[in-house]
Amino acid sequence: MTHAERAALFAAEPGRSAWHDEALWSVRQRRDEAVRALPEWGRLVELAGQLKAHTLARLPDYLEQFESEATARGAVVHWAKDAAEHNRIVLGLLEERRVERVAKSKSMLTEECGLNPYLEARGIEVIDTDLGERIVQLRNEAPSHIVLPAIHLKRTEIGALFHEHLGTPAGESEPAALVAAARQDLRRRFLSAQAGITGVNFGIAETGGIVVCTNEGNADLGTSLPPLHIASMGIEKLIPRLADLSVFLRLLARSATGQPITAYTSHFHGPRPDAELHIVLVDNGRSALRAREAVREALHCIRCGACMNTCPVFRYGGGHAYGATIPGPIGSVLEPAKHPQHHASLPFACSGCGACGGVCPVGIDLPQQLQSLRAESGPQRGAMGLRAMSFAMRGRRRYALATGVMRLAQRLLPRLVIERMARGWTRDRALPQAARESFRSWWQKQERGR
């Protein structure tokens, strides 16, 4: 299915699309308030873009520095060239230690690698501990947003889900009550977990440290109790210095939810005493993206989700419409850049409004990246028609011929035939009628009259 088809299904669900739009718009508004309160926002965005571009340019050196510093502090650093290797490394670490129960905090990278089904197929229980992720896990579906995984679900649906899986009373849908039930359940899971898997928001080359940001504290609960912490990190998540965190952290939560900072911002440098820390560095197509000038800037992404909250197509069509690990404007660059055939419709899931570029806190020119992917994507439906039309526009005489034919067709063909030919338009909109006299002919008459 294409994005258009999936988005249409979402929009067809009664009460879903407009409600989803309002929910995400309110998140965007909170972001606006936070940005308004920070006069130095523009300077931070500028610095963030520069820091990311520089780090990306010098990535091999910074990765070696990171590995050296992390190792010196007792962490073990692994390198995975692709998703399959990442999964094998994680499985190996878990099996060696006979781990059967894992607590996992939010990591889009582990989603990208398909880690959960991989481990579950091999008898390892993985509990997603971010509440939104836990909800979609229980529903057996993918997250629909990288920061707000269950934003597409209403409280009644979550209530029914928790009634089935957590034993909450039937009909209970008050968020506070549902969260309380989840708290009970997840705290039990944290206490019985034998390993904790997290993502990494930022890896620091200078100190070999990793930073994980959450509002729930689930990454910390998952990693402060069991003796094994596995951190999955995309190679683009590196930043040069500890102090650079001041720039990124001031931008991240404000862009994501409008908060100045998340409730927990943990800085891990080496393992706990008597415990292990394993960091898995993952490429999985990132080095290839980095080599392409047209899309490399997309690797600057700090996964705030602001572009999703601002994109009208995301708001009205939902995150699942993209059929990709990362949805929304940034996903519509990253995913087709890696898999052009599979995600061919994504650069076109965009009305070209440009608002995404305006909210990106690291200054990625998303509109431009989306446009270059369109040119790379190959022929879409309607390409033939557009080529023909463009051919007709190359000169005055051809234009006159083409428009003459069009006007004749409009006069002679039955309205129903025209409407069916232009179905994509006419299903919801009236077709314009050709004016009796075009501007061109009116002008010619004026000229003759002079």
């Binding site: 969260v179 609960l221 402060s224 109790l225 908060q259 980095r290």
Partner: protein
Amino acid sequence: MSRESILAALRQSEPPDPGLPEIEGRWQHFDDRATRFAAALEGAGGRCIRVPARPRIAAELQGLEAFRQARRRASVVDGLGDPNVSLGDLDDPRRLADVGFALLPGSLAVAESGAVWVDASDYLHRAVLFLPEHLGLVVRVPDLVDTLHQAYERIRFEGVGFGCFLAGPSKTADIEQALVIGAHGARSVTVFLVGRS
């Protein structure tokens, strides 16, 4: 080996390098950091109690229902918090799950966000930041900074370590964007800000 092939792949291209920038700019400044900190903390669902000196904290703690009702209490702050759990003797951090109140020292606090930096590098059990039902944090006024820029001027990680910015209690808005305080971690955070502005 993947390490070598990844590094080799990266070295095959040379994206343009704008250079490593200095982190400088005209950052937000607050004339009254304490008031700003308290407001930001409240916005994050926490609470700030001003005390003129450390000894006063004991009385303030007694005024907190969460503290009074905590049957098991932990503390990393010398002489305060009336602990009955000995963190140094605990072999399993999971035993902290039923700690009703834990009092911890913060080495600095950030006015723009209400965040407190807790350096747990020397803690046997860093879980004491995350498992207890309620947290109290002790910070001195001179350790209040405006923004994260000043905070990172003071934070160092020379060797093995762990530190965390705590900004209010655990929370989530994952259900219809309705903010609920007390997700999986502490259900309340009270910061005792010691000293005069």
